[in-house]
Amino acid sequence: MSRDDTQVLVESPGSTTALPLLAFQGLQSTLCKGCGHNSITSALIDACKSVGLDPYYTIKMSGIGCSSKTPAYFLQYSHGFNTLHGRMPSVATGALVANQRLTCIGISGDGDTANIGMGQFKHACRRNVQVVYLIEDNGCYGLTKGQFSATADLHSHLRRETGEENTMPPFDLCLEAIAAGATYVARSFAGDRKQLLPLLKAALRHKGTAVLDIISPCVTFNDFASSTKSWEWAKNHEEPLQEIGFVRRLPEIEVEQQAGKTTRVQLHDGEWITLRALSHEEHDVTNKAGAMRFLVESQERGEFLTGLMYIDTKRPDFVDMQGMCETPLALLEESDLRPGPEVLQDIMAHV
């Protein structure tokens, strides 16, 4: 690795710090060459740098599977936790409650989320836990050699063109996320860096559960021509819904110029997402029922639509609803944690 002295300015709680680039990098990936997950990792590193994410206050959480190995490959200044299969959401929830200053990037796969982890996934969405929840979705179990996952398309084939046919319809994880209460829901493609980057940046600044279902081809077990999760198929069929921008501050003049053409959504801390419709102009990202209907219909048409599906910037996130003191629970001292002897005495007098 070449040495790079470039400094990245990050926003820590209460201050701005300069950190070296390597703070954002990680170990060499041990995934297969050409794996979609590596493209996502690369985009994620750029997104983190771009928004000035502080690695010291970031946690990388994952479940089990190929996807869940990736937290080792970025943000080496951040604590990471490779938890249990399908159970990352609960661990992330606990960690965020313990320290609400942390930003959580959760990395999961389609098996980890749609199969074993559906319950915890949906409950995290329901609580609106502030996690950037990335699903590296390749429609199969890579680490156990290519079995179907619950996002594998109906009639898709196992491992090769002539492989066993999948007779079960897939879960649409964007639809599940919206139904469950997630407040930022997008679909993207590992090969569409131009779209993925702003979606990741906006997700990192979103308050609440941000779910990104990212189609990420498995080059070893699910990359044959007819596979709807292959590089070739995805490249040829991806229909980006919008041209997406993420901007810190929108100059007033630009607002005027784009009025009428571009939809804008303001995030919690004042940043903006700009959306210029490329297709399906009628799609309103703030309309929950509309977004669900849109997803169901596009699934019926067999489309591979990517972009921001739904956003709600109003709903409070789970940690805010806990009503906790400003000091993270993890840092409280005995004087905060243990009431005095007089309290015990009083309780003893009245039980």
């Binding site: 990471g80 490779n82 159970r87 661990v91 320290n99 942390l102 915890q120 009503g323 629970l329 944690l337």
Partner: protein
């Protein structure tokens, strides 16, 4: 069911004065009612009145898994000798529920007394001729005390509850429980805005008392009289005590999923935390999360413990099963988390409202692969309090899951106790390095045993230093927490985890050992068996069997337990599970031939263990040792009895 222990001898009650002797302050009452009929209040009133009279007492609710309509029993015991364990031979029976009444009567010892509703279809007098019966017009007395109010649609329902307070008055008057104490207990049961209900219930109790004054002979044989043994004491259930342990142990994250019999622990804890850990500005120094299942509950607690909070969750056996994978992860990745298991009867859904000690060894070894955990085993409500608080410290100190194993009997029943002592040690956060430490040290390896005690240093997320971060994983790792499949890394790590447990072993609550000079017989027990062991030892001594007693309070068992075994010829290990789990565990750990000295005594029918459940099997064994010494098989075991031990019926 014959009694080998009762201090009282049942005596026939004759209306005309007569010959029977009267027992004083050795009272046991069994009340059969229907779930959801409000009988709990009535029973608590009797219990509080006994406590108010300064008599050691206990109350046990033997209830069904049901909200309304199924039979339930409440056992009340008052004992001058301080015996508060479960008692099988209750001489006073109150039958409020006809479907179970006849069966309840059949269980009585000759000479017992039965109060029953005069409006039962079947006259219970036909069931037994060696029991004294009183048909009490409960319904009429209740209606007199609480006449119908025109337009009150809920009247019948209220009346159904008021009826129970009538038997309080009847039993109190018959047994000499002072009515002033009854009135005070009723006021306590219906405080503040419920004052009107208190008045109605007091009138109902007084109606019962007035009836008893006329209809119960003055020589009623089972009576109590004022003592001065409970003046400073509190009456509290173990779950509430453990909830106070959550509060004073400085827990900051409590996660849970509803399951009998642990739900009330979490609910009490939430109430205490809200009341005492909310700042004047309304901000909380805690978080309570009701999770979607026990998997998520423990997952959240593990996540919180990893990030530096003092995290705790409470559950029961089936929940423990679901937590298993996370516990294995937390053991291996070394994450502090405290788990309270209020044990109930299994396997499967089992008897969810009945008590058992069937999870003990499972807790000790929970997980996949080589797992060993710290298990604290409270034997009293005071220990439910102190051990729960201590578990939070031990988890932080040893960066590992720590279990607190109570059970339904301890957790959901009311027990007398001295007021709890305020913790005498400051909170421990364990070996946590901050940014300044890291700057000074210049290096950090998460799983390096720097101090040689098996306990490594950790950092928390949010530590502003380039070397603070590490990757926590359940996969094989080296000292730097890097992924490793190297055999030497794996083995070194597992060996260090074993060393860590050895370090912890000396810091756990020590066994409480009472040696009796010349005693050849030792008893080992733990948890809620303790009160019945105390009683059983007295009875055994009266029967000529002197015993030493070792109460285990934590696993891994301390070295003193082996020493205790070595000091006795035979050691009965008493526990409330079928297979003698702790006995097996000890056998596997004792050196030489000491394991041959252990004999398992088990109780597992869902009821709390009684002294009789302990004394009977031990006397049966002892008969073998005294009468057939030549028949032993060379291991000190009687040839004709299986080494697997004996169980009580």
């Amino acid at each position: 069911m014959s009694s080998v222990l009762s201090a009282f001898k049942p005596s026939a009650l004759s209306a005309g004065g007569g010959s029977g002797h009267t027992s004083v302050n050795d009272l046991a009452i069994r009340v059969g009612t229907v779930n959801g009929s409000g009988s709990q209040s009535a029973n608590l009133v009797l219990l509080r009145a006994l406590k108010g009279m300064g008599i050691p007492c206990s109350g046990k609710n033997v209830f069904p898994s049901n909200i309304e309509g199924l039979p339930t029993w409440f056992h009340i015991r008052a004992s001058e000798r301080g015996y508060v364990g479960h008692r099988l031979d209750t001489p006073v029976l109150v039958c409020m529920n006809e479907p179970t009444a006849a069966d309840d009567v059949r269980l009585l010892l000759p000479g017992s007394v039965c109060f029953y509703r005069s409006d039962f279809k079947e006259d219970l007098r036909h069931v037994r001729d060696d029991v004294t019966f009183f048909a009490v017009p409960f319904a009429d007395l209740a209606e007199e005390a609480f006449p119908a109010v025109a337009g009150d649609k809920a009247y019948r329902d209220k009346l159904r509850k008021v009826v129970n307070m009538v038997y309080v008055g009847v039993v109190a008057t018959a047994c000499g429980i002072e009515m002033d104490e009854v009135r005070e207990a009723i006021r306590r049961e219906f405080p503040g805005r419920k004052a009107k209900a208190a008045d109605i219930n007091i009138r109902a109790a007084e109606a019962g008392a007035a009836w008893a004054d006329v209809n119960i002979p003055a020589n009623f044989p089972y009576r109590v009289a004022r003592l001065d043994a409970t003046r400073e004491q509190i009456l509290i259930e173990g779950n509430k005590a453990a909830a106070l342990g959550v509060l004073f142990g400085g827990a900051s994250v409590l996660t849970w999923y509803p399951i009998t019999p642990s739900s009330s622990l979490a609910e009490y804890a939430e109430t205490f935390l809200k009341e005492h850990r909310t700042r004047p500005d309304g901000k909380r120094t805690f978080s309570v999360i009701q999770a979607e299942d026990e998997l998520a509950a423990v997952g959240m607690a593990v996540g919180a413990g990893w990030a530096g909070a003092r995290a705790i969750t409470a559950t029961s056996g089936p929940g423990i099963s679901l937590m298993t994978e996370f516990v294995g992860l937390a053991y291996f990745a070394e994450i502090p988390v405290t788990i309270v298991d209020v044990q109930r009867m299994g396997p499967s859904t089992g008897l969810p409202t009945r008590t058992n000690q069937g999870d003990i060894v499972k807790l000790h070894m929970l997980g996949h692969g080589d797992c060993r955990h710290i298990v604290l085993i409270p034997g009293s409500v005071a220990e439910c309090f102190s051990f729960t608080a201590e578990a939070l410290d031990l988890a932080a100190q040893f960066q590992t899951p720590v279990f607190v194993a109570t059970d339904l009997d301890l957790g959901m029943n009311l027990w007398l106790s001295d007021p709890f002592a305020y913790p005498d040690k400051p909170l421990t956060h364990g070996k946590v390095l901050n940014a300044d430490d890291l700057e000074r040290l210049g290096q950090f390896e998460r799983y390096r045993d720097v101090d040689g005690d098996g306990v490594c240093y950790r950092t928390l997320p949010g530590t502003e230093h380039p070397i603070a971060a590490y990757f926590t994983r359940g996969t094989g790792h080296n000292e730097r927490s890097g992924y490793s499949e190297r055999p030497e890394d794996w083995k070194r790590n597992l060996d260090r985890l074993a060393r860590k447990l050895q370090t912890a072993r000396t810091k756990l609550p020590a066994p409480v050992i009472e040696l009796t000079s010349g005693a050849k017989v030792g008893l080992i027990a733990f948890g809620s068996s303790h009160p019945s062991i105390v009683e059983a030892r007295d009875v055994l001594r009266e029967q000529g069997v002197a015993t030493g007693y070792c109460r285990i309070r934590a696993l891994p068992a301390a070295a003193e337990v082996a020493e205790f075994v070595a000091e006795h010829e035979r050691v009965y290990v008493v526990e409330q599970n079928r297979d003698g789990q702790v006995c097996s565990l000890l056998r596997s750990q004792l050196e030489g031939t000491l394991d041959d000295r252990l004999i398992s005594v088990t109780h597992y029918n869902g009821t709390p263990i009684s002294a009789e459940n302990i004394v009977k099997p031990i006397l049966d064994w002892e008969k073998n040792f005294s009468e057939h010494t030549t028949l032993t098989n060379g291991n000190g075991q009687p040839a004709e009895t299986s080494k697997a031990g004996v169980s009580s019926e």
